[in-house]
Subunit: 307 residues, 2 copies
């Protein structure tokens, strides 16, 4: 076997978001041969660049004859992305590959399918990418009657049952944490990194008791630093706890008495799990990358059935 | 009378904040001769510059003999300001001139008194400048048993009775509005200016019903712009309504069934009044500049009594 043979991919799974592009060329058994990470996300490239970016990243895997199927989730399917993949509306199953947008490429070696996002009319909400992670959770838990929490810049809480997304809500908690900790008066008070489990739990508890007072509890961090030398690391963890605690309180009707699966890979997934368990909820964590791959794999499997 | 005579001030009222310096040279009847506005706030000058800044601004009013009393409120009294005026602790009356810090000046023509701020130990909170506005409200309403709302970057709600500040809370709503509307994903959705009373009222009502979901209702603005062409001006007013509505809900125990006086001079004071009246509260608006002057005037009057 030549070395070229080791580069034979049967298809490619792709997560193309605002700030990143991740590609997993897959072997015949549906396992990733490798993971390609790029910063050529939607925010960094123009509409006409998508195809050339993909070819540059996948060059070693492109076939000499026939074409390579690429199944894409994420913001590449938005109006400002590569090609619009119109939203499915809740209540709905995570959109199947049949609803994907097939992109016209100049290079015949590519067959690109972009999966749709999901929208909710009232309260208005949208997701792009998370629906594929939800599909990944449902592939492993087809009978799940519960809520899937996807922490991030814009954290999603999706209520699922019978294989469908019934409703969902997006919280700007991650983005608010970033802005408040680096741009507001709290920038003098909040450490750039570091963690304190107790301070996080304290923040969650303060928010649970009075979630409406979130923006007052935040200012109190500044005052406590001035008056009682609250440490920057404790302040950071408490701020995170306030935001996550208010979110969990708002989402209470969704998770109370039901199964919770948190999709995440870093400390935030553990923090959400800790905060939920503090409230008596039983949350399990699913690895984010594996969940994305499971969702893209399910879509690809349906594509093959259709062919 | 020479033209110099028209510049005779008996004393000077001063509001020296983070981003501004305002000076009101006063006539013998306690009316301002003029208002001097400067951008030489605490954030723009070093500790050793305060005296020279004051002399430069007040030069035309400095006496040829004797000295000019300047009564200062605001951040100039913080540890990072001109000279620290230690906080009074709640419950307390707004600090009197007896508690002021007398600043040592090189120029003998100045006699500068900086009024203390007020702190609260639990929940930790601080104010500097607003306590003087509260003193101004109490000068006009000595028997007030109610709450004073001071909208701003960091809005204060102070519960007063018997001439004392019993407790207070600071909400970062103004700063959060600025950061979320200009730096978050909502920057694509929220107009830079413009107003819509109905959208503001709608935001207040959404927040009243579910104040914990503030950061989700915010994301919904983005989604509604994508899905239903919510206008940027309506989005701006709704965002403001969400923040003010959550704040009013959190402050409900303070204002419910009690008198509310809002200290403000711009559209935000009217917006708070509208939001409170939507909840059946009876709020009156006191002009911010007049209220500051009334507080500084009361302090100056006590200074004269002490002399």
């Amino acid at each position: 076997m030549s070395s070229a043979t080791t580069k034979t991919a049967t298809w490619v799974a792709a997560d193309w978001g605002t700030s990143h592009l991740r590609l997993w060329p897959m072997d015949a058994e549906g396992s990733p041969l490798t993971r390609i990470d790029s910063d050529r996300g939607m925010g960094a490239i123009a509409q006409e660049d998508y195809e050339s970016v993909l070819i540059a990243e996948l060059e070693p895997y492109l076939p000499t004859s026939g074409c390579l199927t690429v199944v894409v989730c994420g913001m590449a399917g938005s109006r400002q992305g590569w090609a619009e993949a119109p939203y499915a509306a809740t209540p709905c199953s995570p959109p199947s590959i049949a609803a994907a947008t097939k992109v016209a490429t100049v290079d015949a070696r590519l067959s690109v399918h972009i999966l749709p996002g999901v929208k909710q009319i009232a309260p208005a909400d949208v997701m792009r990418g998370e629906e594929t992670q939800i599909a990944g959770v449902l592939a492993a838990n087809p009978d799940l009657d519960g809520v899937i929490c996807l922490p991030g810049t814009h954290t999603k809480w999706a209520c699922v049952s019978g294989g469908r997304i019934n409703r969902f809500a997006t919280f700007m908690s991650g983005e608010a944490f970033h802005l408040i900790s680096t741009e507001s008066v709290l920038r003098h008070t909040v450490a750039e990194d570091g963690w304190d489990d107790d301070a996080f739990a304290q923040g969650c508890e303060i928010a649970r008791k009075d979630p409406a007072a979130l923006l007052s509890a935040m200012f109190s961090l500044r005052a406590e630093a001035l008056l009682a030398d609250l440490s920057p690391v404790a302040s950071r963890a408490r701020l995170s706890g306030l935001l996550v605690g208010a979110e969990i309180e708002a989402a209470r009707p969704s998770w109370s008495g039901r199964s919770v699966i948190i999709v995440g890979e870093n400390g935030m997934a553990s923090a959400y799990a800790a905060a939920l368990s503090q409230q008596g909820a039983d949350a399990t964590i699913a690895n984010a990358e594996e969940t994305t791959l499971a969702g893209l794999r399910a879509a690809h499997a349906h594509l093959n059935q259709e062919v």
